[in-house]
């Protein structure tokens, strides 16, 4: 790294005190908070469980209410996160926040032996421990902070994908508002420096095991007796065999097994196959599903 160039840039940028790093937001956080206030109150869960639909402002179904709450809270969390990262950028050259990073555990983060950011973390941490004044602020500002923000963004995205998937594929009884609020709390926590540092240090601690533990199962499947397996395969083949003009049948099956109907036939088919695979784990569950589907399909599975 050419420190002389950064030094010159630093002097030049210091002279441009009026420049902002981000444009003015189209939606101010306080305005959004005001507009979505009804969905941020602590009684949303009580209203969700209420037998009186008027408690949910409109006679909305639980799923609609759940999704409205989730969308509102994601919007607010995203606005807060935007404000937070903008603040971080604007504070990036302040030595106080940088030394706070060191206290939060830069040394451990530096133990992860991959990526330019972590090497910088280790080097910077040594600098903080040994001689605080000797730390090159440009290194932190240009390398460490973006790395931490990327980690927060990655953690948030991973949780958001999980939430959106469950919203799409599960009704309110399968993915309750309570479950969603828990996930939303995780989503907010993922946008913190502590969370980002935990991710980095966690990776360092578990470096030896991660290679084998990068997989994540959709669900846990069970061995079934051969005769049940034959029936299960027949059912799966039937589902796969439904053509584009059989979308109505596919929709009816989705509703019967209580999963979301989606416009895209292939996506819906995959959701149905996964759900049936998960549910049919014995002769009892096979008989149950077969009985439910018989009227709909005129087929015996």
């Amino acid at each position: 790294m050419n420190y002389k160039i950064f030094g010159v840039l630093g002097i030049v940028l210091t002279g441009c005190a009026g420049i902002k790093g981000t444009p003015s937001p189209t939606v101010k956080t306080e305005d959004a908070l005001s507009a979505l206030n009804a969905y941020l109150k602590v009684d949303v869960l009580t209203k969700s469980d209420s037998t009186n639909p008027k408690d949910r402002n409109k006679p909305e179904q639980s799923k609609v209410w759940r999704d409205t709450i989730i969308d509102a809270r994601i919007t607010i969390a995203d606005l807060y996160f935007r404000d937070f990262t903008n603040d971080l950028h604007s504070q990036g050259t302040s030595f106080n926040i940088l030394s706070d990073f060191a206290v939060l555990g830069m040394s451990a983060a530096g133990a992860l032996a991959s990526g330019g950011t972590t090497n910088v973390l280790a080097a910077a941490s040594a600098g903080v421990t040994g001689a605080r004044g000797a730390v090159d602020k440009d290194i932190y500002y240009r390398e460490t902070l973006p790395g931490l923000i990327r980690t927060m963004e990655a953690n948030r995205k991973e949780i958001l994908v999980g939430i959106k998937t469950k919203m799409k594929s599960h009704d309110a009884s399968q993915y309750s508002l309570g479950d969603a609020l828990y996930d939303l709390q995780r989503y907010e926590n993922a946008g913190t420096l502590n969370s980002a540092l935990s991710t980095i240090t966690g990776k360092a601690d578990e470096a030896a095991n991660t290679a084998d533990e990068t997989l994540s199962a959709l669900f846990t499947a069970t061995i079934v007796p051969e005769d049940v397996n034959d029936r299960k395969v027949k059912l799966a083949d039937y589902i796969r065999g439904l053509k584009s003009n059989d979308k109505t049948t596919l929709d009816k099956i989705a509703k019967l097994i209580k999963i979301a109907v989606t416009p895209d036939m292939e996506t819906e088919r995959e959701f149905i196959l996964d759900e049936l695979n998960k549910r049919i784990n014995s002769v009892v569950t096979m008989d149950e599903i077969s009985g439910q589907l018989k009227e709909l399909t005129n087929e015996a599975f």
Binding site: D212, L215, S216, L218, F219, T220, A221, V233, E270
Partner: protein, 95 residues
């Protein structure tokens, strides 16, 4: 489409193999990956490849090496749980 499917950690080798075979049959796909998520075994099925003529078989690796099996094509290897203990396995397809 790849399906990552969990299998309980207490299965023995023949049970895990049976589950993998049943999943290939159900999804009309082929096993392309083995591993774990820290608490259970995970098998990966590619459901776009069509049902195989012969289902997958699993064998333990020897000192990290997938042994060569006559008339079998090696598919992949990965660490799974066998009777609760992590063990590296290799997957093969009979030819």
């Amino acid at each position: 489409m790849n399906k990552q499917i969990g299998a309980i950690s207490t299965y023995d080798l023949s049970e895990l193999q049976k589950l993998a075979q049943q999943q290939e049959n159900y999804y009309a796909g082929v096993l392309i990956g083995l591993g774990n998520d820290g608490t259970q075994s995970v098998i990966v099925i590619d459901s776009n490849k069509g049902r195989p003529n012969k289902f997958v078989i699993l064998k333990p690796t020897v000192a990290g090496v997938a042994i060569e099996l006559p008339n079998h094509a090696f598919i992949c290897k990965g660490t799974c749980f066998i009777t609760g203990v992590k063990q590296e396995l290799a997957a093969y397809r009979p030819q």
